[in-house]
């Protein structure tokens, strides 16, 4: 099916679409390529029936969606393998997996899955789609979607940003930490988050990368 480049595009479109309508400029930014390159590639993808272009946006067709799920499955399996078996650090494997993912045939995927004991999520906590293309709903939503007064628990920090992961951890924000939204600044400004006895202002861009679930009192919290 698609070339490695098109697979990268499918993956990026799929991930962006989870957060809202996709614009070509967002794609250019996510993939680190120029605007004209994106336009040209999208034209090719449209010709192959992988996407549609409603009102200049980008949407996956059924075929494109299946392609995206397929590449994401391979990416997340590769990450699992790199971390669990080869012992590479959790925060480094995203880029490595981007290279490996294109080389995994159906047969290798099935073998990997058995070898890894049928993992359900990648090392960053994202679900691994099954062979038939079904995806378990990812647990948690972005911290940026929450409002003052919400009591939450961090479930994961997006994989793309290694520095952020370590830095937030050093401030006491790692998976399992209980946090509370104290205030949100006007005009879509930063959120003020309470962690233990400290308060931090986190910009929207940072909050979008932190996934949280509502806190329930029965849940046993790790790390507390």
């Amino acid at each position: 099916m698609a070339s490695a480049t098109l697979e990268e595009y499918l993956e990026a479109i799929y991930k962006l679409a989870e957060r809202g309508p996709v614009r070509p400029t967002q794609l250019a930014e996510a993939l680190g390529v120029s605007g004209p390159t994106v336009t040209a590639t999208l034209k090719r993808m449209k010709a192959q029936g992988l996407i549609t272009r409603p009102q200049n946006g980008v949407e996956l067709t059924t075929e494109g969606h299946a392609g995206a799920i397929d590449i994401i499955r391979r990416h997340r399996l590769a990450e699992r393998f790199l971390v669990d078996t080869l012992g590479l650090p959790w925060e480094d494997v995203h880029e490595e997996a981007c290279v490996l993912e294109h080389a995994l045939s159906m047969r290798v995927q099935a073998a990997l899955e058995r070898f890894l004991d049928n993992p359900t999520s990648c090392p960053h906590g994202h679900p691994i789609p099954s062979m038939d293309g079904t995806v378990a709903a990812p647990t948690g939503d972005a911290l940026s979607l929450h409002v003052a007064g919400d009591e939450l628990e961090i479930v994961r920090v997006e994989e793309e940003d290694e520095g952020l992961l370590s830095y937030l951890a050093s401030l006491g924000m790692y998976p399992g930490t209980a946090v509370k939204v104290c205030d949100t600044a006007p005009f879509q400004g930063p959120l003020m988050i309470q962690v233990g006895d400290a308060k931090y202002a986190l910009g929207r861009a940072v909050c979008e990368k932190v996934a949280v679930i509502p806190r329930t009192h029965q849940r046993r919290r790790r790390g507390q």
């Binding site: 952020l164 050093s170 600044a185 006007p186 005009f187 003020m192 940072v206």
Partner: protein, 675 residues
Amino acid sequence: MSPQPSDDQSHAAVCLARPAGTGPLIALAGNPNVGKSTLFNALTGLGVSTAHYPGTTREVQFAQTVLDTRTFTVADLPGSYTLGAVPEESWVARRALLDLSPDAVIVVIDASTVARNLSLVFEVIECGSPVVVAVNLVDEAARAGIHVDTDALSQSLGVPVVQTVATQGRGLDELVSIALTVAGGRGAPAPRYDADLENAIQPVAEAAARISQRPYGLSPRALALHMLSHDEDYRALLDDSEDAAALLSAVESSAAQLHRKDGWPTSVVLVHARRSLAQTMARSAVTWAGKRRKFDLWALTTSPFTGVPLLLAVLAGIFGFLFIVGNLLATAFSSFWTADVSPWIQFAVHALAGNGALSRTLLWGFDAGIEASLSIGLPYILTFYVLLGTLEDSGYLNSVAFLADRTMHHMGLHGRAIVPIVAAAGCNVPAVLAVRSLPDKRQRLIASTLVAMVPCSARTAVVMGSVGHYIGWLPALGVFAIVFTLWALTGVALEHLLPGEPEGLVMEMFPFRRPSLGGILRKAWNQFKEFLFVATPIVIVGSLVLGGLYESGLLWKLSAPLEPVIGGLLGLPAVAGLTLLIGTLRKELALQLLVTMAVVAVGTHASDLTSFMTPVNLFVYALVNTIAVPCVSTIAVLSREHGVKITTAIVAFTVVVGLGVGGLFAHLLPLLGIR
């Protein structure tokens, strides 16, 4: 913040070195906002020098000081939560700690948040120098009902612990004498973590022990911990020997082992282990008498409904204070100077240089020049530093940053930048200096450019005194509207043109802290001194040059080449070109001198400006004076902060925009039937 130019960026060290022959070196480390800088200022006096690593903006400050008869040097590291590779302040603190290898390290912690502060103490102990812990702000903690048992804490940490109140100097002598006693000795044993982590550390430490030349003479355990946190910095330090390869493979296998257990990268496992141990220690050393405030008033500063009006009120307060109080003080200073200082300087200059053009030129520099520097410095800069210090020390600046962050983002700036920009409406000079508190170079550059384009009180006075006085308030408002539009466009354009993007905001919000007047005044005076030493010589030289040109008559000859611009482009009388030039000395001179020189050039009837300038002339004149070229003092501090190249670029930009817009309106307004 050193007055010596030798500490400028061009002399930045690749690796910081210990100052030679000045007694033991004691480093100060600590989280942000624990009063570390206050402690540094209380320990040291004059002669502070700074150094930083190339490409970084966080400084390490050095100062020599004496206790009883012992001389020693204190190095103030940037405030940081960890010694990790990111963010910048953590990296700088770590590199400086390793490069300097201090004889002792004082780690300053906040008595109210001991548990959170101890992680850094562990990391510093692991680096190997003897450590003394200063539990600072015990007075604040006591008010909140928190008591720290220093003996218990000292026992569990294995290092001396001293209670201090840096703002009052309490406990500092004891702290320093203990630090000097332990200086040069052996470091304390490193803290031990939970069994699973220790099992993972052990094989790595064993592999590290086989490396004979460990970087910075780190202990095997310290090297093991740094390697486990997957730090590229450390990997780069290892050679390609077999021992190094064995260490790397031990690191990989321990990391995999830890990951299988928790599902976390080792850096997060380590952070978590340090925090758990810190919590255990704090639990046994800190007692809390349970005085919980029912309602946190300080939260009002960040709640949108109360915070925004409060922010507007504070900004209006700063603006009004600088505008009204600053102006009053400036007027008072000016009459004091004219009556009590200027005659003496004139007397001295006349006695030395006679009565000719030379003495008049000298007076430009040593009378008018020094007055220009001081009449900005005392009323505006000193008062602004006191205001800024109060906002900073109370913790309000962080509330400001929180509320204004999104708006300032459009111009590539952090929320904090709103304070210097508003202050610039009073005077640009302290605003340029205040830009230093912004976190990165890109932001400092954008903010400085924008600050230089904000009309200060002197430029506002010219607009009001010319356009406002002779034409009306509406056209005066028009001038400000044009300037504001250009200003906003410049900000948005810089955000798009300059490479890089604003960092995601991650900032701790602090509770209200009662600022100490003594501390604020001392800080304000230190910052003000810097302006005085850096800017005054430049202003004097600038004034001498201008004076020389004026007295020799060369300035009038200069007006001929200026004619195409002043007459052709702007449609102004030639004398206006000269006064615009002289206005760079002090912007309000552009109006005062315009009247004086117009009388000289045209005759007495010219004292009413409208008799020789049309309303369009006045409008264009005020517009160009407001936009083009900040004053000499602003240029002086700009070049101090950013170097000559960038300052030239900023000044050239304002000249091009000023003349361009001035020319545009000079030709556009008559077309619209306005004359």
